[in-house]
Amino acid sequence: MSYVPNTQEEQEAMLAHLGFSSLEDLLTPVPEEVRLRRPLDLPAALSEPDLKRLMGAMAAKNKHTESTISFLGAGSYDHAIPSVVTHLQRRSEFVTSYTPYQPEVSQGMLQATYEFQTMVCQITGMDVANASLYDGSTALVEAVLMALGPGGRGEIVISAAVDPQYRRVLQTYAFARGFAIKEVGIENGLTSLSELKSIVGPQTTAVVIQQPNFFGNIEDVHAIEPVAHQGKTLFITAITEPASLGLIAPPGSYNVDIAVGELMSFGNSMSYGAPALGFIASKQKFMRLLPGRLVGQTVEEGGKKQTGYVLTLQTREQHIRRERATSNICTNQSLLAVGATIYMAALGKQGFRELAELCLQKAHYAFKQITAIPGFEPAFTAPFFDEFVIKAPVSASKVEKQLEQAGLIGGYDLSESYPGMDNAILFCVTETRTKEDIDLLVKVLKEVQA
């Protein structure tokens, strides 16, 4: 399949028009010493039907959430996508456009992004938000870089109850950028308040927690906040399960400076974890330090002074400020932001809360049923949202295999990221799981026991 429209004859005519005799003539600027003089060693071109057959077979090798009951969360959440979201998000005018440099013909994407920024503020309770970032983990990095400021030196205190992948990504950037990281340990599945108090000091640039944290537990943010706000320290919160915001106090209500997180699960397919949808929101005073694109409302210069939308505060950005930019971000996740915007509009004020209630209650039902099985113990007693940790009587991988044999995908094996947490499994139950699904899980777990 070729997407080059012009035929060989037409290309020859064009070449002749330019005074060339072959396509090769146009490659003379490429010195022979660097020319590739053999065909690329790649599989031959396939027609659409052949390719669909091939890739359909590859896709069929994957168990997916439409065909398999899964209790995996741990940073990626299965929330149902209303049909209306996908139909609208896939409109080709959105899909095939680029960064709206020419606002006169890009009002659709600009306005949708302005709506996205607003909704992020609405659900987080923060003042301003940007147009999206790659994912939650890099959004956290950007928040930390905002806190560190130009030069990027300083010390970041982060809870060990923050998603292990996020912490690993932050470590990588710390290596490159040259800042320090200290981790605060865990007590009863929550950030250890005593350890936090002992670690935070005048040298601390920012304190980072996750809410609900990686174990699904709800941190006592009111106790953490004053500690996190000692001196000039900034308080950063990461949110990986945005459904929680329907019921749980949002960062804006507990004096967070910068809130970041992941919104992929709102209207976008999981796609093996990415493309994801990082968000960043802050207090008003940090607006000009925000990374990435910002869309602002303005009016026509002349004419009817109609309201319109533009990319704004671009002097923060790499294409203008180059080495002095607030970030190197160019590409973001606009199309996913459109999806999340439509999702949140469709879910609406009532639906947002109901979603959270469904997740909360179903997870607690599952928790009760599982912990009623002899040998399956709750790992913690802290309050949780839609994820919880169970200590199983056997290793998590053993449990996982038995669930797999029953056609289920179980929870996340915590020993992978938390050495010492043997037999600990992080289960997630969102609104997409029915009572029947949960009861089946419990039934199989009982057999594990036996």
Binding site: L18, S92, V105, S132, Q318, S334, K362
Partner: protein, 494 residues
């Protein structure tokens, strides 16, 4: 015509989505969450019905221009046609609805796709291995610089703190250097050839060679010119112990023709949303895989896909790995599209992509040269830079004006005022997927605009005239930023 905000629509109690009924016994909220941690005020999300959602976002889409709407000659952005089969493959439930933490045996097809795509990209770039983890070109740049940093440190050369970057480079290059805690050093372009000023490069290397960590280049460069000194540049930088980073933004010009690896680059990033036809989505998502030579492989972020007799699996990164640059495994949905594209085209098809992109660019350059100054009048590769200098001198019509006027004819505008070294730059990249008729139509319109600039410049200076809205007040937007709607907000500036 104005489309009001979704927040201004609807009415209290309206809703689109209905959620499933609660099918489990419930407990009171207070018993589950401490009162102080419960949300007090509901988020003020819209209250709208399904038909309102549909009409609103349909209208917004109708107020947006994409490649499917018409010609999009945005230089450096490679706005080529996005094949529909790519979307269908990415939408297969077996690809779209899988969780990143699923056990490997339940996602064999996904890992296979990643494994094979890595091999294809390694072959295309002439590199030893590729990581598909970075989310975008700039992310790839940063990751590449981290690898270079780790490499130098491993050799006890952690002091190298300079990254050389040509004055016509993409803005992401210096920004990424800063982010990786490097100091960006600008290398001049040769006024005549448009390539690297070799003398300046030699001078910088002589003065600072031992502190040079890397040079970042794109070739063809942002002028659309292939720097034929590339091999010599490679030798010079390698001689002083520096690494060569290839900015793959312009890779649509080199497929099957030359490879960054063969040009002596040590690291390369791909912009799959440019070169491999995955849609730009209004600014993203993209994907920025990076390929590296063998000496950098130990530093790659992990995990990496691997294969044994039992099938495909994820291999943890080794001890020298820089770690991870994002959660999970890379923009899989984008990777599926890129995989589809490479398999659709095959080796001959990919080479034809680049040849055709180059032909289309040279054709346009030739046809426009009567009416517009061409910054560098040589054979270009996939793009070239014209200017509005003649028009500006003559009647004050600027590159911006010309860009706006183009919108009136149902075409998007070229990239303007970039690269920075060209005044009144109009950077034009037609891509290989445009027909000769479309190119001719663009030439005709550009000619008309040039004529208007001579005879009735006001028409151009006040353009656009046929779009849903006229030029917007950027200064006001920046002076009084309004970045979100607030309940009760009047249209601030209306």
């Amino acid at each position: 015509s104005v489309e009001s905000l979704i927040f201004e629509k609807g009415a209290p109690g309206r809703r689109a989505v209905r959620l499933p009924a609660m099918d489990v016994p419930t407990e009171s909220l207070d018993e589950l969450i401490p009162a102080s941690l419960i949300r007090q005020e509901a988020a003020t999300l819209p209250e709208v019905s399904e038909i309102e959602v549909v009409r609103h976002y349909t209208h917004l889409s109708q107020r947006n221009f994409g490649v499917d709407s018409g010609f999009y000659p945005l230089g450096s952005c490679t706005m080529k046609y996005n094949p529909k089969i790519n979307e269908d493959m990415a939408g297969l439930p077996g690809f779209a609805r899988i969780h990143p933490l699923q056990p490997a045996n339940t996602v064999q097809g996904a890992i296979q796709l990643i494994y094979e795509l890595e091999q294809y990209l390694a072959e295309i770039s002439g590199m030893a291995r590729v990581t598909l983890q970075p989310s975008a070109g700039a992310h790839g740049e940063l990751t590449g610089l981290m690898l270079i940093k780790a490499y130098h440190q491993s050799r006890g050369e952690g002091h190298r703190n300079l990254v050389l970057i040509p004055d016509n480079a993409h803005g992401t290059n210096p920004a990424s250097a800063t982010l990786a805690d490097y100091k960006a050093v600008e290398i001049k372009s040769d006024d005549k050839t448009g390539g690297i000023d070799m003398e300046h490069l030699r001078t910088v290397l002589a003065a600072h060679g031992t502190n040079v960590a890397a040079i970042m280049l794109t070739n063809p460069n942002t002028l659309g010119l292939f720097d034929s000194n590339i091999a010599e540049i490679g030798r010079l930088v390698h001689e002083v112990g520096g690494q060569l980073y290839y900015d793959g933004a312009n890779a649509n010009a080199v497929l099957g023709i030359t490879r960054p690896g063969d040009m002596s680059f040590d690291v390369v990033h791909f912009n799959l949303h440019k070169t491999c036809s995955t849609p730009h989505g209004g600014g993203g998502p993209g994907a920025g895989p990076i390929g590296v030579k063998a000496h950098l492989v130990p530093f790659l972020p992990g995990p990496l896909p691997a294969k044994n007799d039992d099938g495909y699996y994820w291999q943890d990164a080794g001890p020298q790995s820089i770690g991870k640059v994002r959660a999970n495994l890379g923009n899989f949905g984008v990777l599926v599209r890129a995989y589809t594209y490479i398999r659709s085209n095959g080796p001959d098809g990919l080479k034809h992509v680049s040849e055709s992109a180059i032909l289309n660019a040279n054709y346009l350059k030739h046809e426009l040269s009567k009416d517009y100054e061409i910054a560098y009048p040589y054979i270009c590769q996939h793009e070239f830079v014209a200017t509005a200098q003649w028009q500006k001198d003559q009647s004050g019509v600027t590159a911006l004006d010309i860009a706006k006027r183009l919108l009136d004819f149902g075409m998007y505008a070229p990239t303007t005022y970039f690269p920075l070294i060209v005044h009144e730059a109009l950077m034009i990249e037609p891509t290989e997927t445009e027909t000769r008729e479309t190119l001719d139509e663009f030439v005709k319109v550009m000619r008309q605009i040039a004529e208007e600039a001579r005879t009735e410049p006001e028409v151009v200076k006040t353009a656009p005239h046929t779009t849903v809205i006229g030029r917007l007040d950027q200064a006001l937007a920046a002076r009084k930023p309004n970045l979100r709607w607030q309940p009760g907000q009047e249209l601030t500036h209306a």
